[in-house]
């Protein structure tokens, strides 16, 4: 019954989305307030209906209702409750339902928080948002309905249990990875809808950017966290000792992130200086298009990926069609209408705007490079029929060098004035950061003389970003220049967005330190060990104490026991394991990790291990934790900056009165 209710709500949501797509857009065209006011109501209703649908499916998973095909395929009654719930989106149908739910959530949020938006803009935005909803709801109902019952599911023939969830997905980080990633992907739809609405209107101003930026920032934050969580999961669950593999599925989420980061910075220029309008609109379109492409690449399985799950090519074609329609349509509209957008403020090449333009060029070009590397195999196959893959060396060799000038430039940005900046002056103010990073480079050369010669420079780059961010805050509070009370007063009164920027840029620096550390100085040993044998790696002595079998709720586990000593003193126990899931007939690896600030000791147990002989892979991953710590700081930076919005409630209100005035004057 609840399943039918959910199914019904899903179809009803499609109907509401159709209304929300057409009436408000028509109203905006004819300037009919009645039609336009349908939009917020419809957006809220659509969200409620999809919530009902989603909860109905969740209910089926929680109560293990195996008459529903999706539950039967992906759940099992012995699974822990958390994975019954995460199983809702741990499969294709459910995850698409989550996708549209989040889409509707963002639509509803615009309806609720957008009270002060100009009517026409709001109606158009919600109509565009609804059109995306319509496309994906059609996709769900026609090709991937999560509410389908098992064929001929009469009570006596009901299956007693389900097929279980892929054990790799039965993991806490991966339980939250898809929702976070989707909030990021789908959140960019708001920027997209605003861009399309602006093109339809043929009018755009700083208020537009002030509206789009928080939404983009929120989406970007969650995408950052989602990608980071995926990387963290791959690190400890796949047992390869790596954290990023330049795999198509990873790239699929990374491209919208790069474009979104560029969008974040260009929207800043638009908000503050009324410049870069056309470019920002284009970037908003491209960012969401890349999100759609990410969905397509992951869903369709056209690319062989280390993260590949079984997928259905026919569904891929449907998503490809959706992607073509929205990207193609938006670009046509852009080509047709973008000349209407008049560009505002002029600026010199050396200025805050100029720095942000450089940021945008480098980010877009590196995004394009990732795009080429990811899709080249597809193109090659289409043209020649031959199959090939583009490996990590390609991305390291192309992406890395493009990031270096970008990261070098970051600390300069906040020191340059809007309109016309002074590069030499900025460099003088950055003397602290320059000094610290040079010192660190020299010290690293002295201490790590045997590693790659580039590595200390990389460490210096990370320190440069961190010190640069601190340097900026110190400069703004006039640290050591005025009395400490005065500095403190300035420190408190600094806008939160300044702290957000500094925190996020610090995060990038911390991440760079981690990446350089683990790339340059990782050490690895693969060997057979017998009970009582000791092996040393990176200053640790690792003693193999034997294996032990254990039975858990829904898997059997072989655990290897290792003792870690440093200088003869025991400091930790490692317990890497192999888990066998009888229901899914699958084995997973759990790495044993001893974390520390300087690096992780990381152990993986090989197959067919026993007390006499175990295959063991040991890694020492220096500084690796800083990678995720850095992304966390970036997320926090975004959050701090977002909290600043409330302090500026007055600004949009002022814009509203201006916007109200403009259409009257135009008529």
């Amino acid at each position: 019954m609840i399943i039918e209710l959910g199914h019904f709500a899903l179809v009803l949501a499609l109907g509401i989305a159709l209304v929300q797509m057409t009436l408000p857009a028509w109203g905006a065209h004819k300037n009919d307030v009645q039609f336009m006011s349908v939009a917020p109501m419809a957006a809220l209703t659509q969200f409620c209906l999809l919530s009902i649908a989603f909860f109905a499916l969740t209910h089926a998973f929680v109560t293990s209702d195996f008459s529903v095909q999706n539950v039967w395929q992906n759940s099992h009654s012995t699974k822990p409750m958390i994975y019954k719930i995460s199983g809702v989106w741990g499969n294709h149908e459910g995850s698409m339902l989550l996708w549209v739910l989040i889409l509707a959530l963002f639509g509803a949020a615009v309806a609720v928080f957008g009270q002060n938006l100009p009517d026409q803009l709001k109606a158009n935005v919600l109509a565009v948002q609804a059109s995306i909803s319509v496309a994906f709801l059609l996709f769900i109902i026609m090709t991937s309905n999560p509410f389908e019952r098992l064929p001929n599911a009469q009570v006596p023939t009901l299956p007693l249990n389900g097929n279980g969830l892929n054990p790799l997905l039965q993991d806490i980080a991966l339980a939250f990875h898809p929702p976070l990633l989707y909030i990021g992907y789908v959140g960019f739809s708001i920027a997209f809808s605003f861009a399309i609405a602006a093109l339809i209107d043929g009018r755009i101003d700083a208020a537009w950017a002030r509206w789009v930026r928080p939404w983009t920032l929120a989406a970007w934050m969650f995408l950052t966290l989602g990608i980071s969580m995926g990387s963290w999961w791959a690190y400890y669950e796949l047992g390869w000792g790596g954290w990023w593999f330049w795999d198509p599925v990873e790239n699929a989420s990374f491209m919208p992130w790069l474009a979104g980061t560029a969008l974040l910075h260009s929207a800043l220029v638009m908000e503050k200086r009324d410049a870069l309008k056309v470019w920002t609109i284009l970037l908003a379109i491209l960012t969401f298009s890349l999100s759609l492409m990410g969905t397509f690449l992951v869903r369709s399985g056209v690319l062989t990926s280390v993260h590949a799950f079984a997928v259905d090519p026919e569904r891929g074609v449907f998503i490809l069609a959706i992607m073509m329609f929205f990207t193609g349509g938006a670009l046509v509209l852009f080509a047709w209408r973008s000349h209407l957008l008049k560009n505002g403020g002029l600026f010199a090449p050396i200025s805050r705007e100029g720095a942000l333009v450089l940021n945008n060029i480098l980010l877009s070009v590196s995004c394009a490079v990732v795009f080429i590397g990811t899709l080249y195999p597809l193109l090659h196959e289409a043209l020649t029929g031959g199959k090939m893959s583009v490996g990590p060396p390609f991305f390291n060799m192309t992406f890395g060098p493009l990031m270096v000038p970008l990261l070098l430039a970051v600390p300069f940005g906040p020191f340059l004035a809007w309109k016309r900046g002074d590069l030499l002056g900025a460099a003088q103010r950055l003397y602290f950061a320059i000094g610290v990073s040079c010192l660190v480079i020299l010290l690293t050369y002295g201490y790590m003389y045997q590693g790659p010669w580039l590595a200390p420079l990389g460490i210096g780059l990370g320190i440069w970003l961190i010190a640069g961010a601190l340097n900026e805050i110190a400069f703004r509070v006039k640290f050591m220049q005025v009395s400490s009370e005065e500095s403190w007063r300035r420190f408190i009164n600094l806008p939160r967005s300044a702290y957000g920027t500094a925190l996020a840029h610090t995060g990038v620096g911390v991440m760079v330190l981690g990446i350089v550390g683990v790339t340059a100085w990782q050490s690895e040993k693969i060997l057979h060990m017998t009970q009582g044998q000791t092996v040393s790696l990176a200053g640790y002595d690792v003693l193999f104490k034997g294996v032990q079998q254990q039975k858990q709720q829904n898997y059997n586990e072989i655990i290897g026991h290792f003792q870690v000593r440093k200088g003869g003193v025991e400091i930790a126990q490692l317990a890497p394991s192999k888990r066998q899931y009888p229901v899914e007939k699958q084995t997973t690896t759990e790495a044993g990790i001893y974390p520390s600030w300087w690096g992780d000791l990381y152990a993986v147990l090989g197959e067919q291990s026993s007390n006499e002989k175990a295959t063991v892979r040991l890694y020492f991953n220096p500084l690796v934790r800083l990678i995720w710590l850095g992304t966390l700081l970036m997320f926090l930076g975004g959050a701090v900056s977002l909290s600043d919005r409330r302090l500026r409630v007055g600004a949009p209100r002022k814009a509203k009165s201006q916007n109200k005035a403009v259409p009257v004057a135009a008529e």
Binding site: N74, W89, G90, N91, H92, S95, S144, N163, N166, H177, L238, G239, V298, R299, V302, T304, V306, H307, A308, F309, A310, V311, D312, P313, E314, F347, A348, P349, V357, I361, L362, V365, S366, A368, V369, G373, G386, K387, M388, S389, V390, G391, P392, F394, M397, T398, P401, L402, I526, L527, H528, K578, E584, T588, T589, V604, G606, E607, T615, R617
Partner: protein, 158 residues
Amino acid sequence: MTRKQRRFILIATCLGILSFALGLILYAVNDSIAFFYSPTKVSELNIEPGTRFRLGGLVQEGSVKRGDNAHVQFVVTDTNQTITVNYKGILPDLFREGQGVVTEGRLSHEGIFVAVSVLSKHDENYVPREVVDALKEQGVWKGGGQKPGSDKGNANDY
């Protein structure tokens, strides 16, 4: 500075960065592209020893031998031709005899494929598309339970 000069600087910067990126791509592409071959293709094309490529097919039943210090040897077959693969490391969890596999590495002068990586998959039912196509070419693709996207095939994704 006039408007024209500003625009020139902007365009020059764009072009400079683009050509830098293009240069990097052209430089990197030679070294890091791996073509995919089945054992039949490898013998047909007479691949030079030392060329990096991906080899895919089925792991022959009964061919997996484990040596000292995590050395593994197995035979990859497309039922027409076979190639012996040497690998040092821990095999992915879903590596099984009789199932599809993709490995990346180089042929030695003795005709043995020295793998640097064995691709893992995340899903019991997933068969790399290349392997499916290679087996189809040999006319031995059985489809059914192994087919990507069939029945339970669509099950797990994230």
